[in-house]
Structures are given as C-alpha cells and as structure tokens.
C-alpha cells in the first residue's frame, strides 16, 4: 500500500493525512474505527485484507427511532424478553475482513452472544441479551465501525418470507428414484431369460413401481397443474405434451408389470422428470443480495423525528399527518412533501432524478419527498401524507398493483402448440393404421408415440440456454431478475433512456469555468475561503480546485445561507455565490453555477456540467441502427443542444417529463404495438420501468437501491449495453437451433415407435442421450457467443 493511502479505507489521504500510531488516515472517521478496533484487540482486521474499511457516516441521532417499541418489535426476528435475534442487511459487507470483524462483535459489545454473517446475502444475524444492550446501541455500534445497516419499512414488513425449497425436494426425490430405478432395471436389459432373474424380476419391478409413484405424484405434479391451467385457457403450453408423456409412461409401465408383459419404462420416466426439474432449478438463479421489487417504501426511513411543543419524538413514517412538524437531520431522507420552516436546506434529489448537485432551498420553499438533506438539520412542515406526495402518488398507478399474470408467451410455448397437435395426429393416424393391420399392436404403438414424443429435450433447451446466459450476464455485472427477461430483451424495438443519472454520470460532476482567468494566488485564496464553507456546492468546487489553499486565514468571513460567501483575505475582497447575491447578470439560466467577484469586480462563473457516460455516443450510434431511440428527461431543455450534437439524428428528445408523463408515454407507444425497453435510474423512472416490457435500472453501486425493475446494470458497463442486447438475440437463435436438434431426436424415436420397436432399452438410451446432448449443445454455444464481452 502506498504511503499516502488511508490505512483503514484505502482512499487517497490528500495533502493533510491524519497520522495516528504511525499510520495514515484520510479522515477522523477512519481513525476512530481504527482506534475502536485497536483497543479491542481486533486489529487483525487489517491483516486479513489491506485497507478493508469504509468511511463511517455521521449518525448522531439518526437511529433514535430504534427506541420506539413498535418499531423494535417489527425489526426483531425473535425475542423472548431475555434474548433477541436481529437480522440486518448491510450493503457494505464486501470482504473477509468484514466477516471477521462483524463476527467478533461480542468483543465490542458484551451483550452480543453470537453474530453471524451470511456473505452472499450481506446479512448479519445477531443474538443479544436484552438486559445488557439494545437494538439502538447495536445499530449505532455497527454504523460507527463503518457498516451502516440498511433498515427500511418494506423489509420490516415482510421479513418472514421463507425461501421455497419445494423444487429442491422435488429434484432430490426424482434423482434418488432415477438412480435406484436405473440400477434395478439394468439386469433385465442384458439378461432376458436367465433363471435367477426370472425369479426376482417381480421384486425388482414392484420396487421400481414404488419409487416411481412419488416421482409422478410429487416431483412432477407442477407439470400436471400447469398443463391443466393451460388447457383451461385453451393454451397448449409445453407442459401439456410433458404431462401427457409422463402419464402415458406411468400407466403403460404399470399396466405392463401388472400383467407381466415387460419391465416398463420407469427408468425413463424418473430420468425424464429428473432432467426436466434440473432445468427448472438451473433457470432459477437469483441474486440474493439484490432486490428487483423495491418501491418507494424501501428508500424511505422507518421513522422520523416529530417536533411537538418543542419535544422531539420518533414516529413511524406512516403515522405522519398533514401539519406535523418534522426534524430532518443531515443525510436523512425527506419522507413526505412539505414546506421548509428553518435551517440550511441543500437537498440532494439524486434518488429521485439522478441529479447529484444538491439544490438549495430557503424557508418557505416546497420540499419534495425523496430528497436527501445534505447540510445540517432542517425543520419542515408536512403538507401531504406519505402516499399523497408528489413522488409517491406514482405508486397508486395501476402498473404497480398488477400482479404479474402469465401473459408472456415464451418461445417454448409458441412452438409447443404445433408440436402437441402434430404428435396427437401422428398418434391417431398410427393407431388407426395399426388397428387395421395388427390390432394387438395398436395400443403399444400409440403409447410409444406419446412416450417418445414427450418433449424433454425441447423443454430443456430454453431453461439451460437462458439460465447459462443469465449467469454469464451476472458475472459481467448485468443482473437479470429472471430468465424471461432475456427473451423480452430480444423482442424489443424501442429503447427509451432517462437522461440525468442514466446517460450522465452522477458522481463526477464536472465544473467548467467561464470568464477572466484567475491567478494562482487568487485560486489559492478562493480554496482557502471555500474550506470553511459547508455548502455542498462549495465542497464540490473546493475538491475541483487543484491547488493547495493559501496559508493566510481570511481576515473576515461571512456565509449567508442560501446565497453565498463574503470574505476578505490578504486585503482582497471575495464574493462567491449566486448571481442575485453578486448582483450580476445570469449567464445560463438552466445550469447550477457559482459566480465569483474579486474586489467588487466580476471575474467569472463556475458552471456545473453533467458529463456523459463513457461510450454514450457509441452506444447510441450502434443501437440507432436497429432500434427507435428516445430520451425522456425530467429536466428542462438546457441540454438539448448538446444532446443533438452527441446523439444520432433520429433520436427523439422529450424534456420536462414528469414521472407520470414517462409512464403514459410508454403506455401510448405500447398501444401502437411497440416493445419497449426503458433504461433509468431514479425513483421518478419507477413508473416507466414498471410499465415497459423490459425495465433496466442503471446503478453506480449495485448495492445501493434501485427502483423495481427487470434488470440492474452496473453503470460502468453502460457502454456494453448493445452487446448485452445482441447476446440476448443470439440466445434465442441458439434455442431455435437446439429445437431443430431435439426434433431430430424425436424423429429417430418416432421411427422406433411407429414400427412398434420401442423397447424399454431404446427409451432408456434415447431419452438421457437427447437431454444431455441438448444441454451440452446450448451450454457450449452460449459460452462461445459470449466469450468476449
């Protein structure tokens, strides 16, 4: 590690590192964590990984609401009065040091009996004694060492969502039966009239029958249910021929062993169910640390501080009423619309719009829910309840209440209709033919056709191709909600982008200086003045200026809230702030800017520019060849000129779009038959993301919360978007190719079936062979096409 990097978190310490114990720290927060860990003999933390920490946040008073009994009860997993169990979601868990320090919490707080980390889910589970410690103390402790837990309304509400393990049981039963039945059926394949075999075959057969029963009635039950549901709606989905095949297999086999006609097809039956379920299981990849279902409730705090008669109390957010007076501390979210009463408000609406430059507000101004206060505490008066705020109203739209119905007809189902009709007619024709030719064989042939036509390989190709692609995308940090998303992506013809935060980056706000050049000395003095100011714009400018501040302190310094700074340094007067404060002409109305006046002479202005993401131009150029591109921005037209220059000519631009407008825009073009992909980031895109056929949320940090969507894309990979889209299309092609292959297998099987030659051995060879080759085929091909992302 280089000398100048923080020992705790690894960030560059800049010019003035804090030196403690011969180690460098970037800030007091990091130093404090080191001290806490060091005095408790936990400094092994730094041996496991170098610079593993995160900078702790200032949390004074933030967790006071955790004293509220009602909230405590909601959050605790279990409590018997003496011991309590608590589960916390901690997004910043990222390395083995994190696991180690969090599992040694008992060294820091004697009330903790055990603490256990689930790394993939980023969950910390704490068991603690109620008399020695409490919820608030623990949360504050964890936050103070840099692991701020994420506590939200929604998570508190549905904490007892148990993972459904039925599929695992179904697969394991099928696997168990498959293995054992295969062993039991082997003897009869090789020795036909052997003496001992004749003696024991009945035992073998009935054992196979016993093991096949749970496979059919438990493991395969979902196929029967789904086929029944499909038929009820006159849809021939892929489960219809599967269910038909399974039941014919079972009944013909039972019939055969009952009347001592043969050994039946129990091994093929259990193998079939096993492979099908395996495909289903493979398709079910989920990213347990991500959530694709979050709505505004996940963003909002569980409780806020209510001021009544000068007494601060903590109330759950949903109990806030119109007219209440709230205290919003630094770094807290505004849960409802309201009016600023007092305090220095600088609201960061990046959650909502993606815009990262905080907006200054004066008392009397309206504050919208979803903004985050970034400078000190403010007081506000509530003017609407939580569900009726400007932003949250969006969630009363029907899009969010719709339960995901099975309206999407997937690729397998679209082919299965023809497939089912074809095999039923073949079976019918063959049955009539054999009935006239050799009536005793008719039953055999018809059942054999239905057995061999059971589309196992067909049903496997899509789950394995999609499942594998889903994993490949996941490695590349493009996380999909489920496999259907790949198919939806391949069908789209219109792509809609949000502007701020989606095609512009929201952390690297770039500054542009316009005006007379400032001398080095002036810059140094400027930096010195800015150092004393806590206004977010001053902070950005301070970080942007690449000079060291001058050593002389300002002789006078006066910060006027919401306006600017007046200061004198080395007998030079500085005036920094808004245009109205400096009484100068406004340069560009739409842009956030800091104006500078030196010795009452206007020097120039620093403009805050949004920088476009790396590769924006290329992405749009590539996509414009195949897709209609639209930009829906909530901002004003300030950027139209730049965008026109940057983007291909046929890109449509719409500005001043409210959240509902975006939603309705998509609804309208969907009515004209378009398949829409929406790419957005903020809560204001939530409606559009939900309405579109595929909603992709862009996120700078995938652990930070994104609105409900179908996929989450790491912002760094924005330039890879065209690749992901074209890979989705290729996946569909691969699946189609594998359909051809599996139909080939079906034709071979059909030859045996129609000629009355389908013996258990043939089925036992053909069925696993076709399944395995299909799986291998799609896996190799999907890996091949995606080898270079």
């Amino acid at each position: 590690m280089s000398l100048n990097n923080c020992y705790h978190c690894g960030t560059d310490c800049g010019k003035n590192p804090i030196i403690f114990n011969e180690k460098y720290f970037c800030c007091n927060g990091c130093k404090t964590v080191y001290e806490i860990l060091n005095t408790n003999e936990l400094n092994c933390y730094y041996d496991l990984e170098s610079a593993p920490g995160t900078i702790p946040k200032d949390i004074k008073g933030k967790y006071n609401y955790l004293e509220n009994e009602e909230i405590i009860e909601k959050l605790l997993e279990f409590s018997d009065g003496e011991t309590s169990v608590l589960e916390l979601f901690i997004p910043s868990i990222h390395c083995s040091s994190c696991i180690w320090v969090l599992e040694n919490l008992s060294k820091l707080n004697s009330g903790v009996t055990t603490s256990m980390v689930n790394f993939p889910k980023k969950i910390l589970r704490i068991t603690f004694k109620n008399e020695r410690t409490n919820l608030k103390e623990l949360v504050e402790l964890i936050t103070s060492i840099g692991y701020e837990p994420y506590i939200s309304l929604e998570d508190a509400d549905n904490k007892d969502n148990k993972v459904d393990k039925t599929l695992i049981y179904q697969v394991s039963i099928a696997a168990f039966a498959f293995g054992n039945i295969m062993l039991l059926s082997f003897p009869e394949y090789f020795e036909v009239d052997e003496f001992w075999l004749e003696k024991y075959k009945h035992l073998f057969r009935w054992l196979m029958f016993t093991m096949a029963v749970p496979v059919v009635f438990y493991s395969a039950k979902d196929y029967f249910i789904s086929a029944y549901k499909g038929l009820k709606h006159w849809i021939l989905n892929i489960d219809v021929p599967i269910a038909l095949g399974i039941s014919v297999l079972f009944f013909r086999s039972s019939y055969e062993i009952l009347f001592d006609l043969g050994s039946g097809f129990f091994d093929s039956l259990s193998g079939l169910v096993f492979f099908l379920l395996l495909g289903k299981y493979f398709q079910q990849k989920t990213y347990s640390f991500l959530s694709f279902e979050r709505d505004y409730k996940s963003y909002f705090p569980i409780a806020v501080t209510l001021i009544k008669n000068d007494i601060e109390t903590n109330v759950p957010v949903k109990n806030i009423k119109k007219g209440d007076r709230l205290l919003i501390r630094n770094e807290e979210l505004i849960p409802v619309d309201g009016i600023l009463i007092n305090g220095n408000a600088a609201i960061d609406y990046s959650f909502v719009t993606g815009e990262s430059v905080p907006v200054s507000k004066q008392s009397g101004d309206k504050l919208f829910a979803g903004g985050k206060q970034t400078s000190g505490a403010i007081e506000m008066e509530v003017i609407s309840s939580i569900s009726q705020s400007y932003l949250t109203q969006l969630w009363s739209n029907d899009v969010f209440n719709k339960k995901t119905a099975v309206t999407i007809k997937n690729i397998t189902d679209s082919i299965s209709k023809y497939f089912t009709i074809a095999i039923l007619s073949i079976a019918l024709v063959a049955g009539i033919f054999w009935y006239n030719y050799n009536a005793s064989m008719a039953f055999n042939v018809v059942t054999a056709v239905l057995i061999i036509a059971c589309p196992c390989a067909l049903a496997l190709s899509a789950p394995f191709a999609f499942g594998n692609m889903l994993r490949i995308f996941g490695y590349k940090k493009f996380y999909l909600k489920n496999t259907e998303t790949i198919e939806s992506i391949s069908k789209i013809d219109t792509i809609i982008f949000d502007k701020t935060g989606t095609i512009t980056t929201n952390d690297k706000t770039q500054l542009l200086y316009e005006g007379e050049n400032l001398s080095g000395k002036e810059l140094k003095s400027l930096k010195n003045i800015l150092r004393a100011s806590n206004h977010p714009l001053s902070r950005s400018l301070y970080e942007y200026l690449q000079v060291s501040p001058s050593s002389t302190e300002p002789s006078s310094f006066n910060e006027i809230l919401g306006k600017g700074i007046e200061a004198t340094i080395n007998n030079i007067d500085f005036k920094i702030g808004s245009a109205s404060f400096l009484q100068v002409e406004v340069k560009k109305l739409e842009e956030t800017a800091i104006y500078i006046k030196i010795n009452n002479h206007f020097k120039g202005v620093f403009l805050f520019k949004n920088s476009y993401r790396k590769g924006t131009k290329e992405v749009f150029n590539k996509l414009s060849k195949k897709y209609n591109l639209v930009i829906l921005s909530g901002d004003n037209e300030g950027e139209r000129e730049n965008l026109d220059k940057l983007l291909p000519k046929n890109t449509k631009l719409y500005f001043n779009q409210k959240p509902e407008d975006k939603l309705n825009f998509i609804k309208n073009i969907q009515k004209s038959g378009k398949q829409v992909m929406m790419i957005g980031d903020g809560l204001n895109d939530a409606g559009a993301l939900a309405q579109s056929n595929v909603g992709i949320a862009i996120s700078e940090d995938v652990n930070v919360f994104t609105p409900a969507c179908d996929a989450i894309l790491d912002a760094q990979l924005f330039d890879k978007l065209p690749v992901f889209v074209s890979l989705s299309i290729k996946t569909i092609k691969i699946i189609k190719a594998s359909f051809v292959l599996s139909l080939g297998y079906n034709l071979i099987g059909m030859y045996f079936a129609l000629n009355g030659l389908l013996t258990p051995v043939v089925a036992a060879i053909l069925m696993p062979l076709s399944s395995i080759t299909i799986v291998v085929f799609v896996t190799i091909l999907t890996n091949f096409v995606s080898r270079r992302i």
């Binding site: 936990l42 041996d47 060294k107 790394f119 393990k165 394991s172």
Partner: protein
C-alpha cells in the same frame, strides 16, 4: 439366493436413510450460505494470536 431379498432390502434402507438425512440438512438451512463458512474457517484463532501473526511475519523475513 434368498439373500438377495436381504441385500436389496438393506441397501434400500441405507439409501433411504441417507436420503432422509439429506432432506433434513436442506431443511435446516445448511446449504443456504455455502460461501461464508469457507472464509470463516480460515480465521478461527486470529483473535487470540495477534502477536503470533506478527512473529510469524518476522520469521518469514529472517528466512
């Protein structure tokens, strides 16, 4: 050859026993997190032996 009844019987009982054990482990949540334990086992004793870690580092340097 009546022993076949016994051997098959025993083998199936054994198989079913292991099957039940497997289902139990799934139910108990043993497979819910397959990553963290692999990290956890690496630092079982770290807490007590802070000094030793330093010493072993020095030894390595001497060698």
């Amino acid at each position: 050859m009546e022993v076949v009844y016994i051997t098959i019987g025993v083998s199936i009982i054994v198989a079913i026993f292991f099957f039940i054990v497997f289902i139990k482990t799934v139910k108990s949540g043993q497979y819910d997190d397959t990553y963290t334990p692999s990290v956890r086992m690496l630092f079982d004793d770290e807490l007590v032996v802070v000094d030793k870690v330093d010493k072993s580092k020095e030894e390595n340097q001497q060698v």
